[in-house]
Amino acid sequence: MELDRIEKLLEKYFEAETTEAEEQVLRDYFTGGSVAEHLKEYSAMFSYFSQAKEERFTKQVPLKPRVNYYKWISVAAVAVLVFGIYFGKQYQEQKEAEYAYQQTKKALGLLAQNLDRGTQKVAYLNEFQETKQKIYKNN
């Protein structure tokens, strides 16, 4: 009678019409040990299913969030950027000031040089003055 019921359940099982409870009955029967000779082939299936259910995931999962990590990296990046701009600007200003100084120096130098040349030329006027004096004295 028991066997009859198992056979019926098997038939239903392969048509996928068994309920969970019925499948449990089958599992219990086939893993129980006292399986009828002509049904022995099926026990491999059910034994495998219960055996496969025992497999475990043993690997550790590193759950430390990487999100925070990114946050701090971005903070550091912003800091570097701000400092970069700040010091870069300072450096730029220094450079500009130096350039202006050089330009002014050059301009003043030019001016001094030309002024010098001017006074040299004006020195000739003295020559004229002296000659004029000589002529006056002669008269």
């Binding site: 392969f14 996928a16 969970e20 082939e41 491999a44 299936m45 496969a52 259910k53 690997k59 999962v61």
Partner: protein
């Protein structure tokens, strides 16, 4: 959600995810990596997790999709999955007399099934999910689940009987 709370939610079904991944990817290393990946994805989404009706089903679907993607990319990359967790043939030769060996056949037979059948058989006969859960998880009609399951079970039976008669003859 703290780490302990998260682990409390995830722990009960992490083995199921792993078994599903292994069913599809075959290699235990690949399956471990996939499970780890899924758990980390869940952890990253932990804020939204309270909103999911059924975290387990959600994680299961994620695993299934992840593994199928993985298989697809391996295929297109013309790479074979390499795995080393087959039972050693020499040892199993010794044990071939034992009935125990045919249990391993079932595993090999399941490897040869089409993916959808593998998934359904895994969910129903190993994880003992209800048809409704499977249907929801796979976004299939319950009747379609039954048809697929019936086909998978029959294929396993057919191949198992074939191997048996080989063993005898």
């Amino acid at each position: 959600m703290t780490q302990t709370e998260f682990l409390n939610v995830v722990m009960p079904f992490k083995d199921k995810l792993y078994r599903m991944a292994k069913r599809l990817l075959v290699s235990s290393e690949e399956a471990e990596d996939a499970t780890q990946e899924i758990l980390m994805k869940l952890w990253a989404r932990k804020k939204g997790m309270a909103k999911y009706r059924n975290v387990e089903a959600f994680a299961m679907t994620m695993t299934k999709n992840f593994c199928l993607d993985r298989l697809k990319s391996k295929q297109s990359g013309n790479l074979k999955l390499v795995h080393s967790n087959y039972a050693d043939e020499n040892i199993s030769l010794q044990r071939q007399v034992e009935v125990n060996d045919s249990v391993n056949w079932v595993e090999r037979i399941m490897e040869e099934l089409p993916e959808q059948q593998k998934i359904v058989l895994q969910l129903r006969d190993i994880e003992e999910y209800s048809f409704e859960e499977i249907a929801e998880l796979l976004e299939m009609q319950p009747t379609a689940v039954r048809v697929t399951l019936s086909r998978a079970r029959k294929t396993v039976r057919k191949k198992l009987l074939e191997k048996h008669s080989y063993g005898i003859g």
